[in-house]
């Protein structure tokens, strides 16, 4: 066993045991949790926050741009199809201003 390995095996553990403890300061975890709360509050605040909440409901875990892009693509595609293909149902109007309309009152029938 080399000198270096001997040092490693027998002494390194003892050497490092002399290293001062590094405990977290008081209130450390509470501060981290407060930062989490602040992050969540920021995330849900304002217009973009609401948008993010809606996006999260539609596509959980995805970044905000993903559902927004999907929505924009769907909108463009729908509008394009709508413009290119006119509706098959055409409206027929069978009245004219030149002919007077004829109608009877339901009330007159009853009398």
């Amino acid at each position: 066993m080399s000198d270096e390995e001997e040092f490693t095996d027998r002494v390194l553990g003892r050497v490092l045991a002399h290293l001062p403890a590094a405990p977290a300061p008081p209130g450390f975890e509470a501060r981290l949790l407060a930062a989490y709360d602040a992050f969540q509050a920021r995330r849900h605040a304002g217009f973009f926050g609401a948008l993010r909440v809606a996006a999260e409901a539609v596509w959980p875990g995805a970044p905000l741009w993903a559902p927004l892009s999907a929505f924009a693509c769907a909108l463009v595609l729908g509008a394009g199809i709508g413009a290119a293909m006119p509706s098959a149902a055409t409206q027929h109007t069978d009245f004219s201003l030149e002919k007077p309309a004829t109608f009877t009152l339901a009330l007159a029938d009853q009398q």
Binding site: E4, F7, T8, R10, V11, L12, G13, R14, V15, L16, H18, L19, P20, A22, P23, A24, P25, F28, E29, R31, L32, L33, A35, Y36, D37, F39, Q40, E56, P60, G61, A62, P63
Partner: protein
């Protein structure tokens, strides 16, 4: 190697924290916060800066938690890698600071009832570790204090196991040279 959620004890809590579950976030903080703080404190030697690093690491975690997908790396490995990178960044910025401030090891204070010799050894060990190049220090801290195996420590540092072992060997050699004057105090014949 893919790591399933079953083998990664944190995966569930990360997903829940990403969805706003405060209890899951608290569990992650309790599990990793103090250990990350100890690593950062020993890497940087400054308690306040260590806390800043941990805050930044967790902020990064909350930002990415919703998108975390278990499978490529263990969550803990990712977390430690982020923390180490933060430490490296801060150490790099410190190179422009005066040497005394950069190498200060304020945590060397022993408990009040400890003897003077213990205090002397403790401060010397802390100084010797702080004197090591940052990657050697990180390797020693991960393997000897954080309880990581070589494979895990190598993944955390983004190295091969061979490269990590080389860092460990050089770190040990560096410590030996720096602590040679303490050989008798440490019980070395």
């Amino acid at each position: 190697m893919a790591i399933s959620a079953m083998h990664d004890p944190d995966a569930g809590d990360v997903a829940l924290a990403g969805q706003g579950d405060r209890a899951a976030a608290a569990r992650l903080i309790a599990r990793h916060g103090p250990r990350l703080h100890a690593l950062a404190r020993r890497m940087l030697g400054r308690p306040a800066e260590a806390e800043d690093v941990v805050q930044e690491v967790f902020l990064k975690l909350w930002t990415h938690a919703g998108r975390w997908r278990p499978g490529t790396a263990k969550f803990e490995t990712w977390l430690y890698r982020v923390a180490l990178n933060q430490c490296y960044d801060r150490l790099r910025k410190r190179r422009h600071e005066p040497l005394e401030a950069a190498m200060a090891v304020p945590d060397g204070a022993p408990p009040p009832d400890a003897g003077l010799q213990a205090a002397h050894i403790s401060a010397a060990v802390a100084r010797a570790l702080a004197d090591l190049p940052e990657r050697q220090r990180a390797a020693l801290l991960l393997c000897h204090f954080q309880g990581c195996g070589n494979q895990q420590a190598a993944e955390m540092m983004g190295l091969s196991v061979e490269a990590l072992e080389s860092l460990l060997a050089r770190g040990r050699r560096g410590l030996k040279v720096r602590l040679a004057h303490l050989k008798e105090s440490l019980g070395e014949g």
